[in-house]
């Protein structure tokens, strides 16, 4: 738990320093203690919003992860499918989420569906690209070994391709995980569903800068914690590399 704590302390110190040194007016950026007061006063509201955002980000990330791994596994084993499907995937990726938001909302509604869809669109691509790189970097010798042993496609995938690809997959997952919170908030801005994003938007329009910054800080801490957790899991699973 040392990592996140240091992160918060450094963040607060920089913040206080900046606000004091440049005499920033509170309606632009309040000092940390104002945000802290707002946080204590509206803790249940923030907690409630955080729950939605975290749930959506986690669900979206899970769907994105499974989808990315499955697609990557298919793409590295079949050229034909790759040629047929990869352009669609890339097209989906490059379409601005803002533009397709009405379509997403029409299909998935204003609740968790759209949120998951947005998180998936934003975060599955780095996981997939890295997983593809990982799956195709498997040592040829290991694949030949599995072949001689009479292993089928599935066992070869689970026992050899996936473990060899883990460092790559985690590189993708790390970048996806950090943007997942942001994507979940983006989805709230687009659909108006409850969550940290909507809370920030509301606080901003009512000029409650204390609450606004309390919510921003909470979202940043969450993003960092997720990043830190991913790294910790990665260290465990890929300890063999050292």
């Amino acid at each position: 738990m040392v990592g996140p704590v240091v992160f918060v302390v450094v963040l607060l110190a920089l913040w206080k320093l900046a606000v004091t040194a440049f005499a920033v007016p509170p309606y632009i950026m309040p000092p940390p203690e104002a945000a802290w007061t707002a946080f204590l006063k509206e803790a249940d509201k923030i907690g409630y919003a955080l729950f939605f955002t975290l749930r959506n980000a986690a669900a979206g990330l899970l769907v994105a992860f499974v989808l990315a791994i499955v697609l990557a596994a298919i793409f590295v084993s079949s050229r034909k499918v790759t040629h047929a499907v990869l352009p669609i995937v890339i097209g989906l990726r490059t379409a601005p989420v803002l533009a397709i938001a009405p379509i997403l909302i029409m299909i998935f509604g204003r609740g968790i569906g759209t949120a998951i869809a947005v998180v998936v669109i934003v975060s599955f691509f780095p996981i997939m690209v890295n997983a593809m790189k990982g799956f195709s970097s498997t040592r040829k010798n290991a694949l030949e070994l599995m072949h001689v042993l009479g292993a089928g496609w599935f066992k070869t995938f689970i026992k050899v391709r996936l473990p060899f690809a883990l460092p790559f997959i985690f590189a993708g997952l790390r970048s996806a995980a950090t943007s997942a919170i942001l994507s979940a908030m983006l989805a709230e801005w687009l659909s108006g569903a409850p969550g940290l994003g909507t809370l920030i938007l509301d606080a901003s329009s009512y000029r409650k800068t204390g609450l606004l910054w309390a919510a921003v800080i909470v979202s940043m801490i969450m993003a960092y914690t997720i990043y830190w957790l991913t790294t910790a899991v990665e260290k465990r699973l890929t300890a063999w590399r050292n």
Partner: protein, 263 residues
């Protein structure tokens, strides 16, 4: 009965659009339970031949049978043990788990196949059960890979320069162990090597290959008694056989006069 028959096998590779003949019409027989060596200069198709037998590659022409059936059937029945030139262990698995990998794929031991614990003792790695490959020396890694190749009690054992990276002394020890294991298991073994002494010491038959294209030069029968002992290395019979292999490998080059030194 698991003999291996190679019947007029040719293997072409496409390199940059043109076809290169790696193996040109080779016919060989490996009797059931025998120990054979393949020797020849690098690029003569030794590895390719072994990979054809193991069904990693398919011949361009000709036919291979293992105990009368096609190699892919033998492979699917988990009857082939293969020791690669580099140990090719899975780095995240312990010694024990690497050796047990074939069991996981076959869904358990085949017949009264040996237990991984027994094999670890057999290859002299007791105490290293939980070590990871990165913690082992090259020779130890290669022993793990031999144990792994033996765990399903394979009918045929293919070894592609398994001790190529080891020093002479370790290599000789490993060879003795390998012969002992081979004699215990009764498997049909093919050893690829480029060391003349090793080929003669290990094998019942030494098949000499030449390169460009890969082809069979001759087969030399080794009539040294078994079990083989290190003392045999110094006998006239052994030297005689070594010379025969050398003659087959170098052909007319051996008779040529040395080039006069330039002054």
């Amino acid at each position: 009965m698991t003999d291996i028959t190679i019947d007029h096998v040719t293997k072409n590779f496409a390199i940059d659009g043109r076809s290169v003949t790696a193996i040109d019409d080779i016919s060989l027989k490996f009797p059931s339970g025998s120990f054979s060596a393949l020797i020849g200069p690098s690029g003569c198709g030794k590895s390719t031949l072994l990979r054809l037998v193991a069904d990693i590659l398919a011949p361009s022409a000709g036919k291979i049978t293992i105990g009368g059936t096609p190699p892919d059937e033998a492979r699917r029945r988990h009857e082939i043990g293969f020791v690669f030139q580099d140990a090719s262990l899975l780095p995240w698995r312990s010694v024990m788990d690497n050796i047990a990998l074939p069991l996981e794929i076959a869904g358990g031991p085949i017949g009264d196949g040996p237990r991984p614990e027994t094999l670890i003792r057999l290859v002299g790695l007791s105490g290293f059960e939980n070590a990871k490959p990165a913690q082992l020396s090259g020779g130890m890694q290669q022993r793990v890979s031999i144990a792994r190749a033996l765990v399903l009690r394979p009918k045929i054992l293919l070894l592609d320069e398994p001790f190529g990276a080891l020093d002479e002394i370790t290599r000789q020890r490993m060879n003795m162990e390998l012969l002992r294991i081979w004699q215990e298991t009764g498997t049909t073994a093919i050893l690829v090597t480029h060391t003349i002494g090793e080929a003669v010491f290990m094998a019942d038959q030494v098949h000499v290959l030449a390169a460009h294209p890969g082809r069979l030069v001759t087969t030399i029968d080794v009539d040294l008694p078994r079990p083989r002992a290190l003392a045999m290395l110094q006998t006239p019979a052994f030297n005689h056989l070594e010379n025969a292999v050398r003659a087959a490998l170098f052909g007319d080059e051996l008779k040529a006069e040395p080039e006069p030194a330039h002054g």
